[in-house]
């Protein structure tokens, strides 16, 4: 880990101002992924801005009947919130499917969205990785890629986004609220928050340097049955091979987002129209254009079968 200077800030404005003074700094909150990466020198900030004590730790009702989740709300608290459990069960389910109790006690809402891939080549600084070191190549292509992306990937990168929470938020039409270094606020739908890898897999989100996530908002509840099925080799404390987050209404309509298949939580609104026709039709739409390797081709039938199970469960 490279040396860094450290400061703790009390307001979002102080945070972005601190960044303006120290470009290249990183915000740190839960630290559960950033410190992991700093130890391996995959991240090497010279300055850390501790935003963990910003008063962005509230979950509040919005004017239109939705929920505003402060960026610093811990995963445990978000999953435990009575309103989330009642009206956004998918989000609560996705959160408690992720990581461990210890990690969820530290990890924040904003940090969870910004966590980086678990591709083992990204984590090994001796190996080529275009995400870690642009232009060095992708070792996962042609290597060990059982856990890698089947949709949205590029010739430069086949990494997946590891978040469970983001899958639920994508299905719930979440919007990310930010403030930039100049103090300007903006709202970014999660649908447009992540960048496809293309030839620049090191650029993962649309956030500008120094732009700080302040909250995530959810529109008013949509009802329905909320199911999050995370499929993994061991029963807990593992990243998803794939996951299916679904909200299914009584009439069979609904929403589906997938985890573990692409660089972002994967949702194809057009495919959701096929849900009443069953898992195959919907999965075909969700995974249209999928490109697999011999090691991860199983993800296609797995998505379809998992979705079928989810739909069956929703029917009761």
């Amino acid at each position: 880990m490279k040396s860094f200077t450290y400061e703790r800030v009390a307001t979002p404005a102080a945070a972005t101002a601190a960044f303006a003074r120290a470009p290249g700094a990183r915000f740190i909150a839960g630290g559960t992924n950033l410190l992991d990466l700093m130890k391996l020198e995959i991240e090497t900030p010279a300055h850390l801005i501790d935003v963990s004590r910003l008063s962005l730790d509230k979950i509040e009702k919005t004017g239109d009947g939705g929920l505003r989740i402060g960026a610093m709300v811990r995963n445990t608290d978000l999953a435990s919130d009575a309103r989330v459990r009642k009206d956004y069960g998918l989000l609560s389910r996705a959160l408690v499917a992720g990581a461990s109790g210890q990690l969820r006690n530290k990890a924040t809402t904003a940090g969870n969205l910004l966590q980086r891939t678990r591709c083992p080549y990204f984590y090994d600084t001796n190996q080529p990785c275009n995400k870690r070191r642009p232009g060095s190549g992708c070792a996962a292509i042609g290597g060990f890629n059982r856990i890698h992306a089947v949709v949205g990937a590029s010739e430069a990168c086949i990494a997946t986004h590891p978040s469970d929470m983001a899958v639920a938020m994508r299905a719930l039409d979440a919007v990310v609220e930010t403030v930039d270094a100049a103090g300007k606020a903006r709202a970014i739908p999660l649908a447009t928050f992540y960048r496809a890898p293309g030839t620049t897999p090191h650029l993962e989100t649309v956030l500008a340097p120094g732009e700080l996530i302040t909250a995530v908002t959810l529109p008013k509840p949509v009802g329905g049955t909320h199911i999050y099925h995370k499929v993994r080799d061991r029963a807990s404390y593992a990243f998803a091979l794939i996951s299916v987050g679904a909200i299914v209404q009584k009439d069979g309509s609904g929403r589906v987002a997938l985890g573990g298949v692409g660089y972002q939580p994967w949702r194809v609104e057009a495919a959701e129209a096929e849900l009443p026709r069953g898992a195959k039709a919907a999965a075909d739409g969700l995974l249209a254009g999928a490109k697999t390797t011999h090691e991860n081709a199983y993800k296609l039938p797995l998505v379809e079968r998992t979705l079928a199970g989810v739909l069956a469960e929703a029917r009761g």
């Binding site: 001796n126 499929v231 807990s236 990243f239 199983y298 797995l302």
Partner: protein, 735 residues
Amino acid sequence: MKFDTPATTNPIDQLKVVGKPTNRIDGPLKTTGTAPYAYERHDVAANQAYGYVVGSAIAKGRIASMNLKVAEAAPGVLAIVTAANAGKLGKGDFNTAKLLGGPAVDHYHQAIALVVAESFEQARAAAALVRVEYERGKGNFDLAKSLDGAIKPAPSFGTEADSAVGNFAGAFAGAPVQVDARYFTPDHAHAMMEPHASIAAWEGDKLTLWTSNQMIAWSVGDMAKTLGIPKENVRLDSPYVGGGFGGKLFIRADAVLAALGAKAAKRPVKVALPRAFMFNNTPHRPATIQRIRLGATAEGKITAIGHESWSGDLPGGGPETAVGQTRLLYAGENRMTAMRLAVLDLPEGNAMRAPGEAPGLMALEIAVDELAEKLGMDPVALRILNDTQVDPEKPKRRFSQRQLNKCLQIGADKFGWAKRSAKPAQVRDGRWLVGMGVAAAFRNNINGPSAARVRLDKSGVVTVETDMTDIGTGTYTIIAQTAAEMMGLQLDKVVVKLGDSAFPVSAGSGGQWGANSSTAGVFAACVKLREAVAQKLGMNPADAAFADGKVRSGGRSAALGEAAADGEIVAEDKMEYGDLEKAYQQSTFGAHYVEVAVDAMTGEIRIRRMLAVCAAGRILNPKAARSQVIGAMTMGAGAALMEELAVDKRFGFFVNHDLAGYEVPVHADIPHQEVIFLDETDPTTSPMKAKGVGELGICGVAAAVANAVYNATGVRVRNYPITLDKLLGQLPDIA
């Protein structure tokens, strides 16, 4: 003391202390965080500096150049050790690859430098500043493509690579019912929770190493050989070992580099291997490809049994002895086994819990299940039918004890085996497909010479000193139980000191030989102490009785401590073994029963129930022994369902080198586990009449899981781990 005739009645048979499910005497220390592990010993040497290891970025080739300037100039750096400045180093007898590489590189993450600095943070940061240019060499990393070039390895521990009895080829060809299949077991990591760690301090030319090691005497010898110094100048101390499973049988880079770093920095240095290094820097259980052929009569009598295994290792390494159990487990007149060894440039392969039997039974016990199905026989009945009470290769040589059938029968009864559907894929529980599996467990018993010193003080406290180690096995407790039984004391009157090379040389911890061997050594020392005490008290050693803290003889009684009234009494002895293990085949046996549920949609596999029935001689402490078995069952569950070091065959390394990528079972994977020990004593093994059990527990588990998955789904998977992607294509169609 020489043990060369079967044991008769001795003080251990009183079973006042031995054989009781006593809580571990080290429990209060371990549960309060006060048991000192290697890296934590702030008290043993002042002014400790921190070392951080630099590992090779390539698997095979040469270091063209190293530039240390930037690293040397980094804050807090005290010294940097490389092969270029470390002086001439030897290689330990138990190491295959050098522990400090360069200029030649033998495997990925082989240590090539140690950076020593004032703080851990500084050492870690400076290690990343060591600049290395490599010339990548061509390596061989693919076992499956190396079978043709694999050679017949030299005999290891006196066992030939090949065995043959009768006419296997003819009998197999003529057998009306045959199984002929290939099985694949992947590379496994020990992944013990405590990383390899050492603190080294020099006093003149004498080295003390506080380390985490299973085999103290071996490792003293290998440290001395590696450093080129006399053995007498090396002291190792390893009182607590945070897991080993074979991964700490030998010295590793932490030990050698701590010693070299301490010499270079001229102060004590501590080194722990970073977790990522534990997968490619330290040894692993090698992958195998196995072919098993079984021929049987229509009635289920095995007439031909053949087992071949291929594995790989670095040049100079050895094979994974996966065929060993097949020479002994089942009857059958025509037999063959063979091992072949390929040269691979992956990290060093070596022993991991039940080396040989663990992967061997992963294959053999699926094959037996396949044979049962072809015969239309119950797999329990098939195993019972093919039991043998003699060494099948030498029918005049009997097993000292063999209650495999009883294990199978009791297990079937307790587990509700009768409810199993013989036809697979018949039992549904909601979305789950449910099935049961069975496998036999088999592991040879090994005895090793083991010495101990016992001291009696005037307060009647007995202190045992031996370089034996407790790697989680319960050694502290069973040694205390042994000494207490021998000397007629309560457990709290015994102090046990382990792991220090200044103590008498024990058998050490490995090969499940530790419990029986080390307690037998304590038995021998206590026999001497009893004689010395009796003499001191003027009693007849032959009839002196030791009980309740007193010694009684000829109508006289004295408190034990009285014997030491005018000075501590010290006795030392070593248990050595004659030919009983040649006269009798000493093995341990068991049966594993497993119930699994498989998600019919996703193929996710969850274990619902596990039962082990074990016959392993006298159980010295049923509580600790049970823990050994459930722990081994857990490791077997991991081998069945998730554990695999993923080989990058281009770059030659294990890719998933952390505990997120190399998945081992977590709490949620493991149901309540049942263990039953048969009431058994084996007088041929030692005066303790005990055998090992810690490795028996893993043997066969993975196959029992595999057989249960087959019973649940009808999908036969022969390449471990059994992950859902291997089932998906054959699961029931979705509605």
